[in-house]
């Protein structure tokens, strides 16, 4: 690992559903469970609202990781089955990302309930660690190296 990578602080964008994952993230706060400040959360009502284009746009704009989090399978979804849609969309997108040379691990799908503040914090901690191992989003490197027009 290079010096630059050791000091590298990943930027993670989180897309969280309002009812479970976002509530779980709130609970982490209420319970004062500490986690690294690398994540920025965008609230959507349902994980079924998370468009693959949002994830691509985040990666393009330099996100080193993207967290998609919704209600637990199979039946926690406040909207019944939005989480299934999210699951299939993200899995298919990850397949595409792999072909496009982006580590699929940068995009992480997690199910976090409203009572899992600790899990949310653990997911963020783990994700930061994993992405530190992966290094910065290669799209950022490309931009500076000129391969990307």
């Amino acid at each position: 690992m290079s010096e630059a990578q050791k000091d590298f602080e990943p930027k993670i964008v989180g897309f969280l559903c309002n009812w479970c994952a976002y509530a779980g993230a709130d609970l982490a706060g209420v319970s004062r469970i500490q986690y690294p400040p690398n994540i920025r959360i965008i609230r959507v009502m349902c994980s079924g609202r998370i468009d693959p284009a949002f994830i691509l746009e985040a990666l393009k704009n330099g996100a080193d990781g993207v967290l998609v989090a919704g209600c637990h399978l199979p039946s926690d979804c406040h909207y019944l089955s939005g989480n299934f849609k999210a699951l299939r969309r993200v899995m298919l997108l990850k397949k595409v990302l792999k072909e496009l040379g982006i580590e699929p691990e940068r995009v992480r799908l997690e199910w976090v309930s409203a009572s899992e503040g600790d899990k949310f914090a653990a997911v963020v901690r783990d994700m930061v660690e994993q992405i530190k191992k992966l290094g910065p989003n290669p799209l950022k490197m490309e931009e500076t190296e000129g391969k990307q027009p």
């Binding site: 746009e57 199979p74 969309r89 899995m91 397949k95 027009p149």
Partner: protein
């Protein structure tokens, strides 16, 4: 009163040449074009040099139809030159519009492409590993060929584009629509794609009933019911996410749409739109409580060559534009 004739130019960059033919697909209507316009530059049909174009005053050309993407320095130079010399620059056809099929080369970079083409194909004998160089010194002096880029770009990633005529190649009605609008001086706002707003589905005559699929077939694996929506029969059709205006010509021949019309006007990206749509309906029938992540994995595995499916024409125009290749 005789109106002054318009000056047209046609140019061919990184494309197959089909778009050049497509211009002629308008058949006898080409005579009408001649009535209203003089063609001042058309390398495939006329003997004219780049320096003649360079000599033209700026904005001398009224409309330049530019087909093909930008993959080398010559194409980039000509794009810039024609932009300078033209009042209206039209990205004509999928390659100029979206990068097109040559844009799939963005799954590789220059090094990989050269190694394959000049080194690893069966018919190639290149024991000294000689690869094309932009500049070569020979005893007569320095030879220069265009520089090959790592990445194919669309025309509008290179220069400002006024209009787009989609299609691979553009359907006759799209070309006519563009020509008529130009002739009448009745053009929509700059930046418009000269095509209807709706997707191919709107023009597709096949019956749409129930979009819940769980089994995916490649075209050769199934003889579809010609009356029914191909996607509903498990054949991947990009029609829902592809801007129409082609008259659903492929579907009328019972072949699925592959997406040459590009994204619909509201979509951030055609590929992502289809990924989202397809993933949404895939396995919908049995969704309730049945799927485990492993089972979903199996469903998804049915989709072979996802980039080739979702980005056959649009990889350079997509959000990520190309594959990341690390040394």
């Amino acid at each position: 009163m005789t109106k002054q004739k318009l000056k047209f130019a046609f140019y061919w960059a990184a494309s197959c040449g089909g778009c050049e033919i497509a211009v002629l697909d308008i058949n006898e209507k080409i005579l009408d074009v001649i009535q209203i316009a003089d063609i001042v530059f058309w390398p495939v049909a006329m003997d004219i040099k780049y320096k003649d174009v360079e000599a033209m005053p700026d904005k001398y050309i009224d409309v330049c139809f530019f087909n093909g993407g930008i993959r080398n320095s010559e194409q980039e130079h000509m794009a810039k030159l024609l932009r300078q010399k033209s009042k209206i620059l039209v990205a004509y056809g999928a390659c100029a519009h979206l990068g097109g099929v040559p844009g799939l080369a963005n799954l590789h970079d220059k090094k990989e492409i050269f190694e394959k083409v000049y080194g690893q194909t069966f018919s190639t004998v290149n024991p000294n590993n000689v690869f094309p160089q932009p500049k070569v010194h020979v005893k007569e002096g320095e030879l220069e060929i265009p520089e090959f880029y790592d990445t194919v770009r669309t025309l509008d990633q290179t220069v400002d584009v006024d209009y787009y005529v989609p299609g691979c190649p553009p359907a006759v009605e799209r070309t006519l629509f563009a020509l008529e609008a130009i002739a009448k001086g009745d053009l929509p706002p700059k930046g418009s794609v000269l095509a209807p707003l709706k997707s191919v589905c709107d023009e597709c005559p096949k019956k749409k009933e129930n979009k819940k699929i769980s089994r995916i077939y490649r075209v050769y694996e199934k003889v579809p019911d010609p009356e029914k929506c191909l996607l509903e029969q498990g054949i991947l059709c990009m029609g829902p996410a592809t801007r129409g205006g082609c008259g659903a010509r492929c579907l009328k021949a019972d072949m699925p749409c592959t997406g040459c019309g590009g994204p619909c006007p509201n979509t951030p990206e055609q590929g992502a739109a289809m990924i989202s749509a397809l993933a949404s309906i895939l396995g919908l029938e049995e969704e309730k409580e049945k799927y485990t992540e492993e089972e979903v994995e199996k469903l998804i595995e049915q989709i072979k060559d996802p980039v080739g499916t979702f980005y056959m024409y649009g990889l350079p125009a997509s959000i990520l534009r190309r594959k990341v290749i690390r040394e």
